[in-house]
């Protein structure tokens, strides 16, 4: 099983799979299949892909503890970068296709959910920048603590979804439950952090 993960074919498969959502939405847009407000549909789709990909990445470290799946660890960086890729497309399409520049600053003030999303994006940006092997080496121990910020990103992303709800919380609750589940696997880490804070 783990040799399967190590093959070049598996790597190529995962790499091309990562572009599948983009290919799908570009195809749909070209067909005029995005409806009356295509930019909004595009931004929402890219956001959903980004948050689901983020959940997938967070699921990888609990999953690799299952012996047969330990090989997936190889794709963690790639998947992490895909999260950043879709988050960037989400932010770029929001900024260039959807936002009203005349009221942009005012909109940011009144739209707290944009702020929450922005926090998540800044975190993802800093993680993406420090993802090359050179940076891992350079940062040493600090790399790990920096990359724990991914927990901040997922919480901010879920808040970003929650604050946009107008009446039905089903989708937001789904993301929140998923995030809580994935964070619960890191319970021992959070406990340790809390204790060390108390001691100091």
């Amino acid at each position: 099983m783990s040799s399967l993960f190590r093959s070049k074919v598996a790597w190529l498969l995962c790499f091309s799979l990562g572009f599948a959502p983009l290919a799908y939405i570009v195809y749909l847009a070209a067909q005029g299949g995005l409806g009356a407000e295509p930019a909004k549909a595009l931004v929402e789709f890219l956001g959903e892909v980004a948050i689901l990909a983020l959940m997938l990445v967070l699921a990888m470290s609990p999953l690799r503890k299952i012996k047969q799946l330990s090989g997936i660890n190889r794709f963690r960086r790639m998947f992490g970068l895909f999260v950043f890729f879709y988050a960037s497309l989400h932010v770029a399409s929001y900024a260039f296709l959807l936002v009203d520049w005349q009221n942009f600053i005012e909109d940011i003030y009144s739209r707290l959910y944009v702020m929450a999303g922005f926090v998540a994006f800044i975190v993802l940006l800093s993680l993406a920048v420090t993802s090359p092997k050179v940076m891992v080496k350079k940062l040493g121990k600090r790399w790990k603590s920096l990359h724990r910020l991914v927990y901040v990103a997922v919480i901010a992303a879920v808040i970003h979804v929650f604050w946009q709800v107008r009446s039905d919380y089903t989708e937001a609750a789904f993301y929140a439950a998923l995030a809580l589940l994935l964070l619960s696997f890191r319970f021992s880490y959070f406990k340790r952090r809390l204790f060390s804070v108390q001691r100091s």
Binding site: G35, A36, A39, Q102, L112
Partner: protein
């Protein structure tokens, strides 16, 4: 083998009027005198079989002259009808599950003539008009829609409301077995959906009960068979699939008001000067737009109907009564 069973709600391609034909319909009808003769001799548009056909002989009105119509496909595929889900595409996907024939409306409260009325009886003897109105959603998008309907006051007067009738309350159908959005556990909206108007707003000649769009019967996703259209208020005031009309002395509490009192008020008049707490209302995106141009325009006070309706709110603080 694929066996395709035709649903009664399926639209046969031959039933769809192309937009080019629709926009030139007046000259078409004027030219086709023989056709007009046939139509005039035809059945009443309100026999129940006719609910799924087109409406001939609509009275035309000057409303919306010069506006570019939002295409039929967009009007009927980009909808907020949370009874069928919160995605814009959900109503078109799932509203066909709602039975709209037979349909009755319960009339209650402060009026001499109350009771349960079949839709056909309610609309007997009325003449239908085409009203091209701007529809401004509270979410900052808008459309221009050619409704088929009649002034609400013509229907309400039939019930002879008494002097205690200060407000009119409306209710949407509640039927979770056919309306999947009503089966959601995690929603802050209470069912049935309730809306309301002050009696003078309800009696205003701009306020209509609509039974169709684009000269055809109302698609389920747009609120078949009977919905309200109040063009100077945000779209959610224009309640869909109405089953109850109640004259009340006390101001009704609407569904959105109950769900978010700081975000949605009773009046909900289109007002670029009063923002929604989570977004600006100064401008709107006129739909359809394209990927690279949001087609943004300034929002007008009372959605551009100020000349006709501003007097209803004279002396009121519209910031407080949002």
């Amino acid at each position: 083998m694929l066996i395709k069973i035709k649903k009664t709600s399926d639209i046969c391609p031959s039933e769809i009027t192309s937009e080019s034909v629709y926009s030139s319909r007046r000259s078409f009808i004027a030219g086709a005198t023989a056709g007009v003769g046939l139509m005039a001799a035809g059945i009443s548009p309100f026999s129940s079989a006719a609910l799924s056909t087109t409406y001939p002989n609509l009275i035309t009105t000057p409303y919306g002259r010069g506006e570019t119509l939002t295409p039929y496909d967009d009007v009927t595929s980009y909808n907020n009808f949370y009874e069928f889900g919160t995605d814009k595409s959900d109503p078109k996907k799932y509203a066909h599950e709602m039975t709209v024939d037979p349909w009755s409306v319960s009339v209650e409260g402060e009026a001499d003539k109350t009771g349960v009325f079949q839709l056909e009886d309610l609309l007997k003897g009325v003449s239908l008009e085409e009203r091209i109105y701007r529809l401004r959603c509270v979410e900052a998008w808008s459309m221009v829609i050619p409704w088929v309907g009649l002034p609400l006051n013509k229907v309400l007067e039939k019930f002879k409301p008494n002097s205690k009738a200060k407000y009119v309350e409306f209710e949407t159908l509640q039927r979770p077995s056919e309306m999947r959005g009503q089966r959601s556990y995690l929603t802050s909206l209470e069912w049935p959906y309730v809306e309301g108007l002050r009696i003078d707003e309800a009696m205003h000649p701009l306020t209509i009960l609509a039974v169709g769009v684009y000269g055809k019967s109302m698609p389920n996703q747009n609120g078949a068979p009977l919905r309200l259209v109040v063009p100077w208020k945000y779209g959610f005031k224009s309640i869909k699939s109405i089953v109850k009309i109640k004259f009340t002395e006390k101001r009704p509490v609407t569904s959105w008001e109950k769900s978010g009192p700081s975000e949605y008020g009773f009046y909900s008049n289109v007002n670029p000067g009063v923002d929604h707490p989570r977004w600006s209302q100064k401008r709107e995106r006129r739909l359809p737009n394209s990927l690279f141009s949001p087609n943004r325009i300034d929002t007008a006070m009372f959605n551009g109907y100020a000349d006709e309706v501003a007097s209803l709110y004279r002396g009121m603080d519209l910031r407080k009564n949002f």
